[in-house]
Amino acid sequence: MDIIPALIDGIYQALAPINLALCVIGVIVGLFVGAMPGLGSVNGVAILLPFTFVIQDITGTATSPMIFLAAIYYGAMYGGAISSITLGIPGASTAVATTFDGRPLALKGKAELALVTAAIASFIGATVANVFFTAFAPPLATVALKFGNPEIFALMLLAFSTFIGLGGDDIPKTLISIALGLVLATVGFDIITGEPRLQFGDPFDLFPATAGLIDTTGFSHGIRFLVLAIGVYGIGEMIWTINSTRGEVTMTEANVTFRSVLSAIKQFPKAMKGTMVGSFLGFFVGILPAAGATPGSLMAYGVTKMFSRDKESYGKGNVNGVAAPEAANNSASTGAMLPMMTLGIPGSPTTAVLLAGMVIWGLQPGPLLFSEQPDFVWPLIGSFYVSNLVAVLVNLAFIPVFLWMLRMPFTILAPMIFVLSVIGTYAAYQNMFDVWLMLLFGIGAYLLRILDYPLAPAVLAIVLGPIAEPTMRQSLILSDGSFSIFFTRPISGPIMIVAVILILLPVLNWLRVSMRKSPPV
């Protein structure tokens, strides 16, 4: 095995002054872009892509530009947690699960604990993933190839099964939330038949007189994750917070010092279980050519909660609930580089842009990349380790800055968050229609929020739905309409069975309890 010397050589090259500088700049850019709701790593990477052409001209290799973009990708994964915790808005789908416990911690005045836990868990998750990536990349690529449509659908169902536990106690309201998210995800065009669906062409087609009053062609691109997520969290949840606290929100204690950050670091071992679950689960879900890091972070949260003795504390500010999704999304994003580099298929919009970058720099992603382009691959892998270390240090260093932001009076922070929500939605898709839609979703979310409708399942359903639906239908075309295809294939079969059991367990349990309980008179 010549992995170790190759890796050492790779790290050595990644530490070359220009590469190290690119790592540091990339991580800082990524951190801020990731922390800005709506921007996220995909915009950061896409916008700096042309610039990498210049870097390539200077250094003469494709490695340095790739190191730069990978560093942005890394930094943004850390940054995603920051907006989830401090603003309560998940800037990317991968950070939705981080809001479940990160936000309550911040509202309890323990934002620094959540931020530190997220940073360290991210570091451990990415490190575990880096080790796996280094040791097993090419063989793992063949595992990813075994995942066809039925397997990906089974995996999505498994991710959905972890939803059941997320919704709280009210089963019908959770079901409404999931179903609504999945239906909204089908708006736009159906890729299987090419037909338009639910486009509300004239939104009030029940009342023909109003047809054409509003330009609704924006529905043709579907309802995107960020439109719903920013609406629900940036507008709906914010108004709810203002109203339920009468505007008296304290996000963090008055005195955040270097020492209190240090004491938060010392408390990290409590979050070790979530971190470990997230690190391993995240990587293995991440390498599968499906959705990138989102199902990984979700499943990590669900599994950690499932195996916890203290299930009640989740959703109210358990550090494991922050550590698990953060470890998982960092681990999964390293994992997602694998199908991108060795199979040429991107698992997320960001890896899609990285892929475009590789093509622009004259590289051919594919199974031969590792054996034929070692001069590209090993310094890149080396840079993963370097970027990750840089990212955790930069992140920890910036925590006091983010906390300072939270100490602003809420009457200043709140309008800033509203402005950020509006610009962020526009920046994500460059479309005013989406901004209006975001506002409508926000008001609707607030009205439902008062009545305890859980909305996180809808937000996640709109991410997973567009993967689950086509893979289900593609599988059924393959099997001429027989659902047995999901159960008879060697990989999808066991996943399906586990998913079905996980879905049925809480439902049966709930039925048993509710049957015993008689309605109050």
Binding site: V183, I239, P415, I477
Partner: protein
């Protein structure tokens, strides 16, 4: 709270019925395809385009009815609560914040993002937040300036300027 719970369940039930009706719609350029032709399995044996949204909307409808049943049995917390759905403060804040945001988007369509941000921040900071004019103006001016350099210049995401577009041409000349 009790009445709101029931009203919301009815609204959601009607909305899901609308979604079911809408899911069954055939392509507009082919009037020969009947409504609800696409919600089952088609000739290739695979589900049609309306399959997924139609049946999921049905799940939503049934769940809304379930919520109504829980309302009647008084098992869900909102159906037991006597607290008002929204009190005076909540209505006022929803109106001021929600209305402010709608006006904000309207101004964006008309005068562009930067004028919109400026006016919205003045409205919120001065009239809802009761901050001093000095602080209000400082934030209301610095935020759009920062946003211009961050989005338009650094990120190359050109935010719409509406009628104020001509004012920005010299800035493009300088910075882009």
């Amino acid at each position: 709270m009790r009445r709101a719970e029931l009203v919301t369940a009815f609204v959601l039930a009607f909305f899901s019925m609308y979604l079911m009706w809408k899911s069954g719609e055939g392509p507009s350029w082919n009037p020969d395809i009947a409504r609800f032709d696409n919600i089952g399995f088609d000739e290739t044996g695979a589900p049609g385009s309306g399959f997924w949204p139609f049946w999921l909307s049905l799940v939503m409808l049934l769940s809304s009815i379930w919520v109504m049943v829980n309302w009647w049995r008084r098992t869900s917390p909102p159906s037991q609560s006597d607290a008002p759905y929204m009190d005076g403060y909540s209505w006022r804040m929803l109106l001021f914040i929600g209305g402010g945001l709608f006006a904000f988007l309207g101004v964006i369509e008309w005068l562009g993002f930067y004028a919109g941000i400026f006016l919205f921040l003045i409205y919120y900071l001065r009239f809802l937040g009761k901050h001093a004019w000095r602080q209000t103006l400082l934030i209301a001016i610095l935020t759009p300036v920062f946003c211009f350099f961050f989005f338009d210049v650094a990120m190359r995401i050109v935010l719409p300027k509406g009628l104020t577009e001509p004012l920005f041409l010299p800035l493009y000349e300088l910075f882009l």
